[in-house]
Symmetry: D2
Subunit: 224 residues, 4 copies
């Protein structure tokens, strides 16, 4: 393993959820100084405060998650619906808005959004989750385009089928629903959290300086 | 012109905005009974009330719009941001949720969402608008997948560069910003509102019964 | 049914194969004067001769087909491979090249390519067929872009799961391979040849004058 | 720099063209044993002979190139057209077919195709080049899907705007055609050959074991 993030200050948000727990040690292996924050980012002022408190940020890992409600169009209450946007979409805008000025000023910085492949292919019972994740993809495409000329790179990992106790638990892997869906996955195994981290580290490092506003499907071949 | 929508009850929402004013007479030419509603759909109960009052709906034209704020990532206030989702995203979910039961029960019905191509290609100063429009595309993909087996079809027109006094006014067409952007448009003209209506009518009619959860870029070739 | 193609001279190539037999009567219902040609277009001079003999062409339906070899990467002989390109790719280039001058001169004309969704999603045993069909999609995107400003429109239908005795025969529909694949199709039925024709007629008519270089997935929701 | 390819036998084809000359030293920095071959792969037996002579291959870098003819649809002769497929498409099929058996037998191996972004967005005078490159993308998607379950990974870099004396020479960069096109590139610079190599090395290394049949646009943001 190289020191691809040696001395880089990497802020990981919602660090006790989604890819946070798995990513922290792997980013540290690469030499990163990880600031692992766990505050509730649904509070409108939280993102601004977090960025102000953190100071210098080389890499923002915008790791935002909500429990996938797996609910039909008709059974999606307004509460379920709003929660998706409150947890995953509005905080992304606020985090990026607060981080961009320092990155533009230094003409250097990376934002890696931990997103989802759910907006890229239809499935039952995914519309609220996928819609919020789709907003993230569009945000990265347009915001990433806009800041590209300042040498700031925003990209997103559009993932699914990643081994993760919180999202693809051993119990869920035993269900018929999972098994039926999994038939369709050409890799015939889940991706590992380490493989996911390797992509994130690539996107956080100087190796990927020319990617801007791009979505990287990371889905064991389920979408490419 | 054929009677492709003869006797069909077509509900057009926010009918005094976006494509509403242009679409109403063209849909009527095709024989549709147009219910043109103009209520404020940001009120949470409005969608449910509208669908209940309307009764039988063969075609829902989910025409939802907000003024494009054309603002940078850093200058996007939370008010600007929320307005996009309040006007274009949350009402879409509530309209579809309220309409689907009658369509599923009859095993017949069409929902045509009037969306945008903005999530499909990066541009400056578009992130709040494009993010909300991106949520719409993901919603159509997943909700459309889910209801497909009930013979209900939800599809979306992902449009831009459509001649329209409200979105591409004669004044805007004179600006340098527009002219620079327009160089890139292979058609070398705006699409007309009638051309847009022809696609919408195709998607509203029985001719398109096998399209489900699909986005149709309609962008004078700017994206395809 | 309207006379959307009234008096239009429509050339359908390889008219005894793929969508030819189904399309001819439906195009005629719309008022088209159909020139149904069945010559072997793998002969390098054939396309040029055909266009010269046909004279005025309003609409070219580039209907090119080969039997899908359903063969693995390793078992794809050079003969199988070449046949795909000889039948579906090289004639497309020659047909379009021969047809474009008259259309550009008149500043009017439509080319509808009957393509395939196979390049849009991975499947086993499809690589030779899908590669040739992928070349078609790229050709339409670039050639269509290039001629757009002359008011000539080239678009492609990227189809699969269309009811068709030659491609999805009743026998094939009884196989386990088909049934397994079909589980994944949200429409839960094949599209009909008439539905396919309706899209082709839309793309052949003046209603679609602002689509250029675009691929229309037509796949019962399997890809969108 | 890590030894991410330490001891890996990496075959680079057409090694004196396209990305070959730039890649060889950078792959060697990562510990690879590079076999740089320059034979003419348009000869049908050449691919098979090459793979047989090379013996054990951990990574095949399918680097296939032809001079971009930059010619209009109407001026594309059959010679120009065929050259694209003879140099870039048919050899890809033959190289992969010859390499897959040893990789499947070992349940290990990577194929990185050096492709192009030209099939992903319309431009004038690109149809022959883009069509051949589009066939490559479809081949990778389907062949990559097919071999995924054997732990063999085929992926493709869909590149453009990469600094390279052979493709984006200093002279070409001075032309008005280039400058006009370049306005549209959000990165505001070309990617470097080293950045391109970093992506290729990522795809050649064990870090990317879960990517299968995927295209990675690498285009300075021109397409994402």
């Amino acid at each position: 393993m190289a020191d691809r993030l040696k001395g880089k200050r990497v802020l990981i948000t919602q660090a006790d959820d989604y890819m946070g727990p798995d990513f922290i040690p792997i980013f540290e292996e690469e030499g990163a100084i990880v600031i692992a924050d766990t505050r509730d980012l649904t509070i409108p002022s939280a993102a601004k405060d977090l960025i102000a408190e953190t100071g210098h940020i080389d890499v923002l890992v915008a790791n935002l998650a909500a429990v996938h409600p797996r609910t039909s169009v008709e059974n999606t209450t307004d509460e379920i619906w709003s929660e998706m946007f409150d947890k995953m979409v509005h905080p992304l805008h606020r985090l990026v808005r607060a981080t961009i000025p320092q990155m533009k000023a230094r003409r250097s910085g990376k934002i890696v959004v931990m997103g989802s492949a759910s907006p890229l292919r239809g499935q039952n019972d995914t519309s609220p989750y996928a819609s919020a994740r789709g907003a993230q993809l569009a945000y990265v495409k347009t915001a990433g385009f806009e800041v590209a000329s300042y040498n700031v790179q925003i990209n997103v990992i559009a993932q699914t089928f990643v081994e993760n106790e919180r999202y693809f638990s051993k119990e869920y892997q035993q269900t018929d629903g999972f098994k039926e869906k999994f038939k369709d996955v050409p890799l015939k195994r889940l991706s590992t959290a380490r493989e996911d981290a390797m992509l994130a580290i690539f996107l956080a490092s100087e190796e990927s300086n020319s990617f801007v506003g791009q979505a990287f499907p990371f889905a064991a071949g389920w979408v490419v």
